[in-house]
Symmetry: D2
Amino acid sequence: MRTIPNPDRPQSPLAERFARVRDLSVALVAPLSDADATVQSMDDASPAKWHLAHTTWFLETFILRDFVHGYALHDDRFPFLFNSYYEAEGRRHARGRRGMVTRPTLDEVLAYRRRVDAALLAALPRLPEAALDLITLGCHHEEQHQELLITDILHLMSENPLEPAIWPAARKVPVEMPGPIGWIAGQAGIAEIGFQGEGFSFDCEGPRHQTLLSPHAIADRTVTNGEWAAFIAAGGYAEPRHWLADGWAWVQTQGITAPLYWEERDGGWTRFGLDGRRAIDPAAPVTHVSFYEADAYAAWAGVRLPTEMEWEAAAAPHDAAGGNQLDTAGPIEPRPSAGGPAFFGDVWEWTGSAYRPYPGFTPVAGAVGEYNGKFMSGQCVLRGGSCATPRGHARASYRNFFYPHQRWQFTGVRLAKDL
Amino acid sequence: MRTIPNPDRPQSPLAERFARVRDLSVALVAPLSDADATVQSMDDASPAKWHLAHTTWFLETFILRDFVHGYALHDDRFPFLFNSYYEAEGRRHARGRRGMVTRPTLDEVLAYRRRVDAALLAALPRLPEAALDLITLGCHHEEQHQELLITDILHLMSENPLEPAIWPAARKVPVEMPGPIGWIAGQAGIAEIGFQGEGFSFDCEGPRHQTLLSPHAIADRTVTNGEWAAFIAAGGYAEPRHWLADGWAWVQTQGITAPLYWEERDGGWTRFGLDGRRAIDPAAPVTHVSFYEADAYAAWAGVRLPTEMEWEAAAAPHDAAGGNQLDTAGPIEPRPSAGGPAFFGDVWEWTGSAYRPYPGFTPVAGAVGEYNGKFMSGQCVLRGGSCATPRGHARASYRNFFYPHQRWQFTGVRLAKDL
Amino acid sequence: MRTIPNPDRPQSPLAERFARVRDLSVALVAPLSDADATVQSMDDASPAKWHLAHTTWFLETFILRDFVHGYALHDDRFPFLFNSYYEAEGRRHARGRRGMVTRPTLDEVLAYRRRVDAALLAALPRLPEAALDLITLGCHHEEQHQELLITDILHLMSENPLEPAIWPAARKVPVEMPGPIGWIAGQAGIAEIGFQGEGFSFDCEGPRHQTLLSPHAIADRTVTNGEWAAFIAAGGYAEPRHWLADGWAWVQTQGITAPLYWEERDGGWTRFGLDGRRAIDPAAPVTHVSFYEADAYAAWAGVRLPTEMEWEAAAAPHDAAGGNQLDTAGPIEPRPSAGGPAFFGDVWEWTGSAYRPYPGFTPVAGAVGEYNGKFMSGQCVLRGGSCATPRGHARASYRNFFYPHQRWQFTGVRLAKDL
Amino acid sequence: MRTIPNPDRPQSPLAERFARVRDLSVALVAPLSDADATVQSMDDASPAKWHLAHTTWFLETFILRDFVHGYALHDDRFPFLFNSYYEAEGRRHARGRRGMVTRPTLDEVLAYRRRVDAALLAALPRLPEAALDLITLGCHHEEQHQELLITDILHLMSENPLEPAIWPAARKVPVEMPGPIGWIAGQAGIAEIGFQGEGFSFDCEGPRHQTLLSPHAIADRTVTNGEWAAFIAAGGYAEPRHWLADGWAWVQTQGITAPLYWEERDGGWTRFGLDGRRAIDPAAPVTHVSFYEADAYAAWAGVRLPTEMEWEAAAAPHDAAGGNQLDTAGPIEPRPSAGGPAFFGDVWEWTGSAYRPYPGFTPVAGAVGEYNGKFMSGQCVLRGGSCATPRGHARASYRNFFYPHQRWQFTGVRLAKDL
């Protein structure tokens, strides 16, 4: 079901892209009830309904309100409810109370989407370049929220003692256990990183600049569930020696003993996913681990995490649109790799780099300038994209970022070492 | 719509009562969406869906499971989800996480209700006396949850910045402002309090016993919104002299300046209710005040709160089923009193008595013995019933109890003084 | 060493009493270093230095400042530091930060005491009756702080992993294990309780009034350490059935498994005291238990706690100045009882009564009116006095009060039962 | 007063250095009472007595215990009390409870120091190279604790409403207000950073390695109090636009409106120091600001903080032992600079770099390997040394680190910008 039929007018590529992105969000919430879409399971997560509305508010505010003369807000109380963190856009609802908003209902939010989509598509042919750029930004923005939508629903379902599945299990293609990690010698010396080219990128991906890499090697695949189970069996979570001090404090105070969603049942490890609770696949990439866990694993293994520069240099030649990424609404899971090194899809890979500005970075002007720059403290860079990342969203230069204790995203581990 | 049509069989009075009680709960949630019924707005409150399911679990567990041979649980995962606090019934879901349970849906919970209701009515003719007593208890239990259902929904709606109304405003009968409080001389000397007679009562209402009252008088009505506004205007919330030390600490740390749901708008006081935000009615009883506020008001007025014994002695001659109590699902609100002293309905009245056992009290044996006795510390007794109390539920001997800071119930203030 | 030599003038009885009380406080801190006297071990406790200064501020404020013309404050910054909770006396230092005040030093505080004592004794012969009454109040006030001083130091020392002893062990008189509890039939019908007579009492002890007692019996001794060890061995701390709901939550969240200061060492129970860590004496009264524990023990034993009215009626004939109470600075500990029923000394006895005003109670006017009345919510009444209570301080009508979870005082358990 | 007279034996340079360092610690606590040295003012700070004992435990453990045959611990309970965070050395006292340890007293801790110093100096001539290296490490370790000792005492005194001074004010040499910041063009291209050479360095300062600097300039002095007052006056603390998101949350929840220890009095800014409360010197470097404040100031000024690589490249030619650093126990304060660019002393300078390992970093083996590596997450690098840093301790390659909200150290701001 397309939400935005527009039969009479030839679609521009941007309009098509816009429609496709907007449709996917709606498709993702298809299995959800009004209640599923409303509840907030933790401060870090948002209700599905909020994601649907917030992405719409973004478009309504920065495009329709700012560029379409005479446009009247769908509901003038919505900006207070659905602004996320744009200080320049005024006061807003407290993040931790988003789950209190049972009304508007899911249906009303879907109607809000349709209204805004129609208005935007109608206005599109006459919009100036600046507005078109903001539509493109809005599409990428919405793709980010699609991934959050999946991971936030997963977290919510995991909090239900009944552990409901919203999707069936993915059909498994039998895959052999991967062999030992192979090491790819990394480029040493001056390399160039950061976005360049014609397409879209976020401001934090640039400016493209030179960086100096020291001699190193990077693993040809990510760490698997089976390898992680061995780390647990070896007492990895009980030995402070492997852990950063902050990580050890986190393990101790939170009682962490395994990746998020793992539980031991009948002597074997299981994980919870949107297809319910199932046995882990030892051949598949481990996911839902924090930076602290990733770092501890690397320390236990006698190696380290790659820097984001090393990662980008290694990944640049690979196809950013390949691998196990999100195409449609339906079963997703990191999957055992069939073949050669793949840097995109399956799991976001923690790097050892703090999320800080590149040399010469300046945020975009205006409210959308709050998009990236103001988060540049305390967070770690992740690279590569995951099985929940809309295909086409990630790039070699793409910088994702989370706090070191967070692990409800599809986060995993690729190792590196000095040569 | 009756949930429990039972056309072929003459109804026993108990069956009729049971059906009526069960119907009212369903009617109360009629204006709610699945999301409205699922979200938990604070630890003290529960989702509407949980109330519907918990009261059903109570019947299923203590009657069907324990007395009906061969009864199979509707869902064997529900006891974990819907047991409230019965330690003897095993582990249960954490109270503060009740709002995570988006599934079962509201519809599924309503189906659970129908299944249990049908099984119970079918079994009823052959149930032993002990089971019939538990059905009666189950009805009273459900009436308590009906009141909580109303107050919990009210709290949830108040947390939504849009302040939705689920009911229209009650039609107002114009009433004159009440005159000054009149003082009813109380009985001094030995009085008898506590439940006696044939009907139902909770274990904590007995044994009936003698108590000694000292000379005192009790107000002929409760404190009004208008009087409370005068207390605020006189600086009542800013003057520690009036307050218990715990109350003053609560006022300071929570920033309390008015009853719950009151806000000043355009220079006048408004309150939020299930009919939305409206101007306060100065003639109506004040409600949503804590024990701390009630006590401070009394201190400011130079008098005190009644003891629960004084209250019961004064209220005993009055009609417990009279006044402004809940008859059907629909607009409720404390209302200005038309005539003589009424001790029942409108608002629960804070007494100065701690909730402690009467002389000779012993809890009922078994799991239902956890119903009252274990809560006998730290809480204050309230008497009288409110506009949200199902008519027929309250009695002169009825002891309601809440912590001194709680005020999301329809709680108000009746004054007393020493003679 | 007397702090207040006054050789040239015949001492009035009040002056002698005053000097004796003031001396005892100083004697109690004799074993303390400046650091011992400065640190605050928890919000509930105060530094010893603070107790010494606060009691002095009380005298300086309510007597010297208010009644002695031309008296200049010893240090005009001290009222901010050493006012406890008298709102009418203005702003004051946050209770939880009292331990930050390393200066004034212990020596400077002792000098403050000497200055105030000298000024007060010099003024005493010319003070009006109202001031003399306040001196008497000040003596009783100081006696209360002497007990807190002991219990606060004990708590502080218990927080030191070295578990230092500040006093030698009391010399033990061998005592036989007490036999089973004997039950004293209590008076039933109307009894009079509350203070009457010539001497001093706190406002909350009155007015004397009639109360109605139901048929009951009260234990002839308190529960012993040996009996408590049996409660523990029987799983008393692991069985929710015995506990009030608030108590069970406290046990679970705080990990409570034994009285405060108890630890199992080499298979036997020890306790920490101001004479260090030693084996418990099974014959001695158990102490450092909370109301929750006292109530659970009684429930386990199939009986209950006495009400404060029952206790007072039973204790009235006994010598309030007898038993194991504090005479001088030195080793203290609840001791096995040698003979017949004793209601005073050893341990404060939790009653089942909430601390609420007596009929006709009105607080004293002025700042000292904040002494008792404002604490009348959420607390439980204890009766009898302990080994840390200055002899002569307690009375049959004396109402001590603490929150139900507190147990750093010398608190114990006497049982009662309905007849 | 030298603590370690050793008249009969020619001192080795290491022994002399050791004695000098150990003496300074003792001199720093000379103005402190036992109580001053015992109280812990916050979790981040430690009691002075603890610093004195911990540095001694470090020497006793890693040198005397491990290298001196037959050495008996001074007190075998001390390792539990005075181990800071060395997991490999076993369990230890909770960091936040260090202030409970009133015993051992300050005098006993000083005796512990003398005992260990004497044993170590006696053993020194026969110690192997590895032990001598650990003595050197112990000296540098103690210098770090000297700085903490000063800042922790300052914090404690600031918590006392009397605001005591422990030192007189430093004599002021009148200095002209500095002119506008001058910009030093930084080296662009490949630079080498990290420690190299013969002397001591911490493991985290290496390995020395190449880094790539982009075109930039660095300020020739740090930001002054006068400039900071202008930032405040311009609304700097009230405008979210300037702040990192984490910083803005910190400002809002903590109510931050000025540097730590600043207060407005009579219309002018004052600061608290170890010489009491005094007017700020507008010409002196601002101090006690967090990373968040430093970053916001730079954003407000339209520039940025330097990276630690830029800083080190710029500072390398300067005299690390010059400027306003700690020589003796006595008045300290950041001072207006008299002349050309100085990179050392006055205040630690926040850089924009996260504290992460250099390429090829591996921690030292054994317990002392916990010294630096495990703290490499969540913290920011500071460079340069302060007025509280013992002269000779800092180096161009020296990496200090704190969390971005911390500001009780002498922390300040140097600006940089892209060219």
